[in-house]
Amino acid sequence: MQHAIRLLVILAECGEDVKAGDPVGAAKVIRSELRLQALDFWLRNPDYLADELVTKVEAGEQPKTFLTVARNLLDDSEPDLRWYPMPRWHFGAYEAIDDAFALLETYGLAKLDRVGSLSKVVRSQFFLTDAGLKAATDLASEPRLSWYTEQVKLVFVVAGDEVGSHLKERQYLQAEYAGTELGIHIGPIAAQVRDRLDTIDAAAGAATGASGSPKTGEDA
């Protein structure tokens, strides 16, 4: 059920607008299972998400206020409750999404379009229907489940419109993730990210001190 909720908010927040030729009643679409899986990975692993936020700030692509957000992701108890380790598979972090997506389809919230044969799927397109978009909006007012609609916004900040393969490459670069043995749950990297943040804070503190007025203790 939570998986279906995550897919719903990811499609709503990170899906692109539908074009002509797409099914009637569809509002948003993600045209790659790889991208969907990558986005789901960041949503369920707050420490990896924080790490990517720090990287974005360091690259100058995001404002420094996200450093505070990243630290909150590590320190708050809420994300800690929502750390759902997932096994790494050939396409990166992977968990079969068919059951969860079927639930969305039953209620007319989403629609899956697979291209290719039964044995060999070439491409999958995940559509969010108008009803799905409304359901996601309703979810934002739910007392507990609204966490997902907020968190997925950060995931979009990190992922943007990049294609799935690029996102997976970035996730491979995240050291702990890349070092994980096949089939073994991906370990936490909260400690390393905390170190990165501390280093940045220390450098920022030193820069502030250096630019301040020189100390003239003898005159005081």
Binding site: Q2, A4, L81, T106, Y107, D138, P143, R144, L145
Partner: protein, 685 residues
């Protein structure tokens, strides 16, 4: 017991050596080589009876008229008693050589010029010592003498030759003659102290006093200044002359030894003083070090108690630490469980909420075949209780709680779904009104457990901190008391060091006087010095009247030798002479050579005469006078002097040999057999 020994004993006893015995004094004097009886000596007369020497002259063909290959020569002279003379018309004609050959045969020491010595092949001299005929005969080969000394006796008309000794070198010759003459003439060696050692002057020193040379007029008697006063004593026959010189020498020797010992002691004292100063410095340093320690004795039982307490506290701290670690582990486990429980409950809650979220919607398509859910089927769900998607029968009781679940689903699953739905509903309600129930008791229990675990950890941490502090304080106390023990040990060692340094210093104080007392035995010094003082006194008492008589005789003789204006002469014990001439006082050393020659000759002859007339003294009565007119004595004065000598010699039995350039004077004054005179430029031999 000797006279000297008795007198010395009296002296040393008076000086504080009360326990000294006569035997000790005699032994000391004997050891010091001091004769204890007076030996005035009886004169023994020495005469020369015959002289022969031969050889080959090697003169240069030109100038000296020498022949090539050399000119053989032989000189023979039976010398009579009294005054005899060798004269030549010119200098360098061999007259001095005649005297020199005689002196060679007398002493074994050659004073000839090298060229003349090299010409000689053979020398024979016959001496008369009192009545004994002694012949000294030797060959000269390459200037080295080799020959023998023979005693010639007349045994019922037959001449008997008894060898007294042979010699093959100048050294042997000198040793032989020295011993022979000292024995035969009954002369004592003259002991002298020179600089650092005792020396004994023997025959060569005496023999030098037999010769008067115009170019060697100082000192008044003999050739050596230091020996003059001793020779005077010997020739004047002064009592105690020999013991006096022995005592003076021994005294100076002891003084020298004492001086040396003093120097050594002084050096030793300096060394000792330096060592002592160092030892004192060590004592001072050791005392300072010792006093730097506290005198308080350490309390061993307190120290042991403190150590034990520190040990106990350390154990306690360790036990608390173990408890703390256990508590920390327990707290961590509780936290883990709490977290797992929260995650689990959160998952359940979210799952139920999601289910609630989706259940409120109506299914529109079949996820399998995409067929639309018809209105018919939608109505069948509440009316016929069949699933609007798959037509399965729904569980009625679950449906009553707004939970859509097939009746065929296992009961356990259904119950779980119902509970989650109920929770979700409660959750939604609780969003507005906080209503506590007993629903999440596991979580609460875990939270309570976590709180209690943290409290336990905090308590144990504080307990551990105080235990560690107590243990550290106790350890510090114990360490300080151990330090006190160490300090006491160091103090004990410092006390030993101090005692050792003090003992060392005391040992030095005991040693010091031993060094200072080194030196000659005080009694020996006292005895020898007393003997010296006594003998000096006795000698002077004995000699002074003799010197008065001799001085009168000297003045008489000197006047007869031509010193017309001589008033008085005073010969002193130190062999100096005061002269009053024409009312003016003068010393011998300041007179003209002519005056000196007359006075020296007069002194020697006066001594010999005195000895012969008194029957004491030691001058052998033989005199060689070389070139008396060489210096400032006019020919007329020489004649007067020779006449006087001739008279004196005839009266006293002295034999005098005079060599002079004034051969004519010899011929005028002396009988023909008393003079050998070469005329003009002719050589004497």
């Amino acid at each position: 017991m000797s006279t000297l020994g008795d007198a010395v004993l009296e002296q040393v006893v008076r000086k504080g050596f009360e326990t000294a015995t006569a035997a000790e004094v005699e032994a000391i004097l004997d050891d010091a080589g001091i004769l204890t009886s007076a030996t005035a000596g009886v004169p023994v007369r020495l005469r020369v009876a015959r002289l022969h020497f031969s050889g080959t002259k090697q003169l240069h063909p030109d100038g000296d008229g020498g022949a090539v290959g050399g000119t053989p020569f032989a000189f023979d002279w039976d010398i009579p008693a009294g005054v005899s003379g060798i004269g030549s018309g010119a200098n360098l004609r061999g007259k001095s050589s005649v005297l020199n050959v005689l002196q060679w045969a007398l002493t074994g020491r050659c004073g000839l010029q090298e060229d003349v010595k090299s010409w000689l092949d053979r020398v024979e001299v016959e001496w008369l010592i009192d009545d004994a005929r002694i012949e000294v005969a030797f060959a000269v080969t390459d200037m080295v003498p080799a020959g023998e000394v023979v005693l010639i006796t007349d045994n019922n008309g037959a001449t008997r030759r008894t060898p007294l000794g042979t010699f093959g070198s100048e050294q042997d010759f000198e040793v032989l003659m020295g011993k022979l003459m000292m024995d035969r003439l009954r002369l004592d060696p003259i002991a002298m102290w020179t600089a650092t050692q005792e020396t004994s002057h023997r025959w060569p020193a005496y023999a030098s006093a037999l010769s008067i040379q115009a170019n060697k007029l100082d000192p008044l008697i003999g050739n050596e200044g230091v020996l003059a006063s001793r020779m005077l004593q010997m020739f004047a026959g002064t009592s105690w002359a020999t013991p006096g010189s022995q005592a003076a020498t021994a005294s100076r020797g002891l003084a020298f030894e004492a001086e040396r010992a003093k120097e050594k002691a002084s050096a030793a004292t300096e060394v000792t003083a330096a060592a002592r100063a160092a030892a004192e410095a060590r004592v001072a340093a050791a005392r300072t070090h010792f006093e730097s320690f506290s005198a308080a004795d350490p309390d061993v039982s307190t120290m042991l108690g403190l150590t034990a307490a520190a040990h106990d506290l350390a154990q306690k701290a360790h036990q608390v630490e173990l408890k703390l670690n256990t508590a920390k582990t327990a707290a961590a486990q509780v936290q883990d469980q709490l977290k797992s429980e929260r995650v689990r409950q959160n998952g359940l809650m979210e799952d139920a909420l999601a289910r609630l979220f989706f259940n409120s919607m109506e299914p529109t398509v079949c996820p399998r075949c995409a067929a639309a859910v018809t209105e018919e089927r939608k109505k069948a769900e509440p009316e016929q209780h069949s699933c609007s998607v798959c037509s399965h029968d729904l569980d009625l009781s679950a449906l009553a709680g707004d939970v859509v679940v097939a009746a065929s689903v296992p009961a356990a699953t259904k119950a779980s779904l119902l509970e989650a739905a109920a929770n979700a509903v409660t959750e939604k309600a609780a969003a507005d009104q906080e209503e506590e129930g007993d629903v999440i008791d596991a979580l609460l229990a875990l939270q309570n457990a976590a709180t209690k675990a943290e409290e336990a950890v905090a308590f144990l941490e504080s307990e551990y901190d105080s235990a560690v502090r107590a243990q550290e304080a106790a350890t510090a106390k114990a360490t300080s008391s151990v330090d006190q023990i160490e300090a006491a040990k160091a103090r004990q060692k410092a006390a030993i060091d101090l005692a050792r340094a003090e003992g060392n210093l005391e040992g030095m104080a005991e040693q010091a006087p031993v060094d200072v007392s080194a030196g000659p035995d005080p009694l020996t010094v006292a005895v020898v010095d007393a003997a010296h003082d006594l003998l000096k006194k006795w000698l002077k008492e004995d000699q002074d009247p003799r010197l008065d008589e001799i001085s009168t005789e000297i003045a008489t003789l000197a006047r007869s030798f031509g010193s017309d204006n001589l008033d008085t002469v005073t010969l002193l014990g130190n062999c100096s002479m005061k002269v009053i001439k024409g009312g003016v006082s003068a010393n011998y050393g300041t007179l003209t050579p002519g005056e000196k020659l007359r006075l020296k000759l007069a002194t020697t002859i006066a001594l010999i005469k005195y000895g012969y007339t008194q029957g004491i003294g030691r001058h052998p009565g033989l005199l060689f006078i070389d070139s008396p007119a060489a210096e400032e004595i006019p020919e007329g004065n020489l004649k007067t002097m020779l006449q006087a000598l001739h008279t004196v010699a005839a009266d006293s039995g002295i034999q005098i040999l005079v060599a002079t350039r004034h051969g004519n004077v010899l011929q005028e004054v002396l009988p023909a057999d008393h003079a050998i005179v070469a005329v003009g430029n002719d050589p004497v031999w």
